[in-house]
């Protein structure tokens, strides 16, 4: 195995791991019982999968073509900044429109707080 093959192998391995993680998180979206737990699988593992794929592509292009792709780096940063915010907004909207949860154990504070707010108004 010479050097360029090792380079290709590293990039391909990262992309493969990212793809596997994306598949597993998609499985999680199907298996989990309600919106909130599904959002867990949807926002985070997917982010890691996309991130690993982008890093793999970055390393592959960098080592084989000797070209540092700034756009891939920017893409990584943007995914990292925007994914948690979108997940938070979707979950917040779901909670405010009173989507039910599954067999919850401790669903404390937030419900009380929101009820108090509506009483005050």
């Amino acid at each position: 195995m010479n050097v360029s093959e090792i380079d290709e192998f590293i990039g391909a391995l990262l992309i493969l791991i990212g793809g596997i993680i994306s598949v597993i998180s998609a499985t999680g979206i199907i298996r989990f019982p309600d919106v909130y737990t599904r959002a867990h699988a949807a926002t985070k593992s997917t982010t890691l999968g996309v991130l690993l794929s982008l890093v793999g592509a970055f390393i592959y292009i960098w080592l084989t073509e000797n070209y540092i792709s700034v756009r891939l780096m920017l893409g990584i940063v943007f995914v990292f900044i925007t994914a948690p915010v979108s997940g938070h907004l979707i979950i917040r909207a779901a909670y405010r429109s009173k989507v039910n949860m599954t067999e919850d154990t401790v669903e404390d504070e937030l419900k009380k707080v929101l009820d108090n707010q509506t009483e005050v108004h």
């Binding site: 867990h40 982010t47 994914a83 937030l110």
Partner: protein, 158 residues
């Protein structure tokens, strides 16, 4: 912090004029010398020497990457286990962070670590409501992670 960086740039440009060479290597040498000067003059500034803060930002990133990998593995284990015995729930968590960007950063970091998701932030920015995927065994460990994030963010902003 911004003032110190700006001053360092100014010192580097001054060094370029002293050398009368407009090359990148001269700029880098001037920047390092300027950082040295600012380091020795650090007691005249109101905030810390800014390189310390850069170090704490890097430390925060490393902590974050480690937590992201570890907790993603935990979620993958939950997804792939044959029987789904999770107990989701929402718990309230008080934060000591005050300014807006700190709370935003903390909420983003919590959301990106699997197992926890920020549902709401109270209107006075004091309490975060976190949805946890497995609330029973997670809560203490999560509290640990949380304090490490919070501490790292505080170190950055101090």
């Amino acid at each position: 912090m911004a003032f110190q960086i700006l001053l360092n740039f100014l010192l580097a440009v001054t060094w370029m004029f002293f050398e009368s060479s407009m090359e990148l290597s001269t700029f880098i040498v001037g920047y390092l010398l300027g950082a040295l000067v600012i380091f020795f003059m650090r007691r005249f500034f109101s905030s810390r020497f800014y390189v310390y803060r850069l170090f704490s930002i890097i430390k925060l990133m490393l902590i974050f990457l480690r937590e992201l990998l570890l907790s993603n593995l935990a979620v993958l284990k939950v997804v792939l286990s044959p029987k789904l015995d999770i107990q989701p729930g929402i718990f309230a968590m008080e934060t000591r962070l005050t300014s807006d960007w700190e709370v935003t950063l903390l909420a983003n970091l919590i959301t990106l670590t699997p197992g926890t998701l920020v549902v709401d932030v109270s209107s006075d920015n004091k309490i975060l409501y976190v949805h946890a995927m497995d609330i029973e065994d997670a809560e203490e460990a999560i509290e640990d992670i949380r304090s490490s994030f919070e501490k790292a963010i505080m170190e950055v902003s101090r």
